[in-house]
């Protein structure tokens, strides 16, 4: 813990208080800047379309109405079906939960091997896998489409899970590897002498230590997968489209009348799960990072 609050005696009390106020002011100004877009989205979602058409965009609603929220959840047209985001929401859940779980488990095992069970070439393999994090996803769309066709999982939720796992393991492996590398190798050695095997050591020594980094990985993966649009739109078909595709259908019509209040409400609804994850698990997020994942 950095503890810099014991200021040296050279600073006067008045200056200290002034600095303190300045600090809070700065933090407040930044908080406003970060919140501004959310504020615009929220207020717009609570206005009627008439008010948006006539009024200023950055203004509190004259009359608060939740109609747009209701429409976005269960009435907005995303095509000929006008059932709002609701059905797509569940598609996203069915897709994100297994994809996050599988990629996290794989990342943990991989990270454990690379950090603690070094064999000749392990680092090169890790480096090669890591490079996968940086490949622009637009590049892989077409060959991946062909692959999914061959595997016979094109247009299905398992297909989407597969794609997200494949392109997620680079990052999850990185997270776990950087975390496990800080755990002394002597621990593994001692356990080996006691006769414990590969999985046994993972299960009884590493897993119990892993909660913080699991939180970090889950947050990262969940955000990435939930917010993904490109894979979602390319590798789904009717009935398996995730929520981002539905959101896009509501928001991005080209030649229709735009209902900005519904757009904004839909955007916030689509973001609620990730927002919730950040708010609830945010504390563990910092803690997880502190616990070693960034020590590299």
């Amino acid at each position: 813990m950095t503890d810099t609050s014991y200021a040296p005696p050279t600073q006067s009390r008045g200056l200290k208080i002034a600095l303190r106020w300045g600090l809070y002011l700065m933090l407040g100004v930044f908080a406003v800047w970060y919140l501004l877009p959310l504020f615009v989205m929220l207020t717009t979602s609570l206005k009627s379309l008439e008010e948006i058409r006539t009024g200023s965009l950055i203004a509190l609603p004259r009359e608060v109405t939740f109609d747009a929220w209701r429409t976005a959840w269960s009435g907005a047209c995303t095509g000929i079906q006008c059932e709002g985001l609701q059905p797509y929401f569940w598609n996203s859940v069915m897709l994100a939960v297994p994809a996050v779980m599988i990629s996290t488990v794989l990342g943990a095992m991989n990270g454990y091997v690379v950090a603690q069970w070094q064999f000749r070439g392990a680092n090169i393999i890790f480096a090669l896998m890591l490079f996968g994090c940086f490949i622009p996803f637009q590049v892989v769309l077409l060959p991946m489409a062909r692959t999914l066709g061959i595997l016979n999982i094109a247009g299905s939720i398992p297909g989407l899970i597969f794609v997200h796992v494949v392109y997620g393991i680079g990052f999850t492996t990185l997270f776990f590897r950087n975390y496990y590398v800080t755990i002394p190798a002597e621990l593994t050695k001692a356990a080996k002498i006691d006769g414990a095997g590969f999985f046994r050591i993972f299960w009884s020594i590493f897993l119990p230590l892993s909660l913080p980094i699991i939180v970090v990985t889950v947050i990262w993966q969940f955000t990435q997968i939930w917010n993904d649009f490109l894979f979602g739109v390319s590798f789904s078909q009717a009935g398996t489209q995730p929520i981002t595709v539905a959101l896009n259908n509501i928001v991005n019509s080209t030649t229709g009348v735009k209902a900005y209040n519904v757009d904004m409400a839909a955007a916030i609804i689509a973001a609620l799960p990730t927002l919730l994850v950040y708010v609830v698990a945010g504390k563990y997020f910092i803690r997880g990072l502190t616990a070693g994942s960034v020590k590299g």
Binding site: G79, L148, G149, G155, L230, Q237, N249, S253, G256, A259
Partner: protein
């Protein structure tokens, strides 16, 4: 409804389904997702259902169909093509050349499409002699929309030449009104550009420059004049035009913040949705000059396995060109029917003008495909032109440079 009736009806429907030879099924990929558009497609879905078909909706909006085309490529490559896809212009023939489109000539011949569609539009629906797509509607692109109250107040008539337009715009600007409501997105810049090319150069010039990509036409003085006019019009838009959605530009005309907008007839839907009446609150007229630029939406059928799906394609094609759908859909969408034998009684005056002009220009040979809306050129070529148009409009590039860049870009896109 009690349990017994549910059971009875479901058994009954099961038997009926079993009795039919093939149950038409269709998974339809389209990008009509917003309120009015979606309602318009829903008409088709209802008709399809009433004929025993099962419609699976696959909407993908965004970027004027870009996202849908991304999804389409992925679906085709994975061997899982949708049954019917919203496609238009030369893209239909390009997909045909890849060998993935189904032949719907049987339906087309049974329904006599060749007789009811204008020849130039029918041409877009045919691939090497077979019919491969069904047209839905005709959007006219070369419209200018105006706020009637503003024009009346300043004693301005709808312009019939670009000089008149400029004179009117100068007058309005002096009076403190934004003459042209415009959204600075590449496709909107291209929309304005093509109407200018058509107006200044005439239909033959338009054809040789923007359809045949004749190098002499592209670098001609007429083309320079078109860029000059674009530069003039850049002075008529307000300072905040960059990135503005077209419908917000339309709203400026509605609210009296701006006088004119150049945009296809989907803009009419915005006026109507706000309760405005053509001829009373707003005016519609073709952009200065001769000719008619059309943007025809259509559905292409992809090669799919299974009798049910093929039956679905045939039924869908038949319904799309059918009288009822043509009328109801286009009333909702702001466009006009592709076939000439649909009664226009329920359509507004702008639509009637559009329909009459289409018939006249079809006769005169000046019924032309819109380049800006992907009707005239391959995507790579149209895109190369749009890049130059939007780069010129959003900078202080000279017309000479623009013309040179245009020629280079077109050559580079071949």
């Amino acid at each position: 409804m009690n349990m017994k009736t549910i059971l009875a009806t479901s058994v009954a429907s099961f038997c009926m389904a079993g009795a039919a030879l093939a149950e038409p099924q269709a998974e339809v990929l389209h990008w009509w997702t917003s309120g009015g558009e979606a309602r318009a497609v829903a008409v088709l879905q209802q008709e399809f259902a009433s004929r025993g078909g099962e419609w699976t909706d696959m909407p993908v909006a965004g970027g004027g169909g870009d996202a849908a085309m991304t999804a389409l490529r992925a679906r085709v490559l994975s061997g899982n093509a949708p049954t019917a896809v919203q496609l238009k212009g030369p893209a239909i023939q390009e997909w045909y050349a890849e060998g993935v489109l189904a032949d719907i000539s049987d339906v087309a011949e049974a329904e006599g499409w060749a007789d009811i569609l204008p020849a130039s539009i029918a041409g877009h629906m045919q691939c090497e002699g077979t019919w491969c797509a069904a047209p839905v509607n005709v959007h006219r692109v070369d419209w200018v929309w105006a706020n009637k109250a503003i024009l009346d107040e300043h004693g301005i008539a709808m312009p019939t030449t670009w000089d008149e337009f400029n004179a009117a715009a100068d007058k309005l600007q002096a009076a403190g009104i934004t003459p042209l409501a415009h959204g600075g997105q590449a496709w909107q810049d291209a929309t304005v550009f093509e109407t200018v090319v058509l107006g200044l150069g005439g239909p033959d010039f338009f054809r040789s420059a923007l359809i045949d990509l004749d190098m002499d036409a592209l670098t001609s003085d007429t083309m320079k004049a078109a860029f000059d006019q674009m530069r003039t019009m850049r002075g008529y838009v307000d300072a905040n035009f960059s990135g503005r959605d077209w419908n917000l530009a339309t709203a400026m005309v509605m609210n009296g913040e701006a006088a004119f907008q150049i945009m296809g007839d989907w803009a009419k839907g915005e006026f109507l949705a706000a309760g405005q009446v053509p001829g009373e609150d707003f005016l519609c007229g073709s952009t200065p000059g001769d000719g008619y630029l059309y943007n025809v939406d259509s559905f292409a059928m992809f090669e799919v396995d299974g009798e049910d799906a093929q039956a679905g394609q045939a039924l869908l094609a038949e319904l799309i060109v059918g009288q009822n759908f043509q009328k109801v859909f286009n009333l909702n969408k702001g466009s006009i029917p592709v076939r000439s034998d649909v009664s226009l009684d329920e359509f507004d005056s702008c639509a009637v003008t559009s329909s009459n002009d289409m018939a006249a220009t079809s006769e005169a040979g000046s019924l032309l495909p819109s380049y800006a809306h992907g009707m005239a050129l391959r995507g790579a070529q149209a895109g190369a032109i749009t890049d130059v148009v939007t780069a010129h409009f959003n900078s202080d590039m000279s017309s000479d440079d623009a013309v040179q860049m245009l020629a280079d870009a077109v050559a580079n896109s071949m």
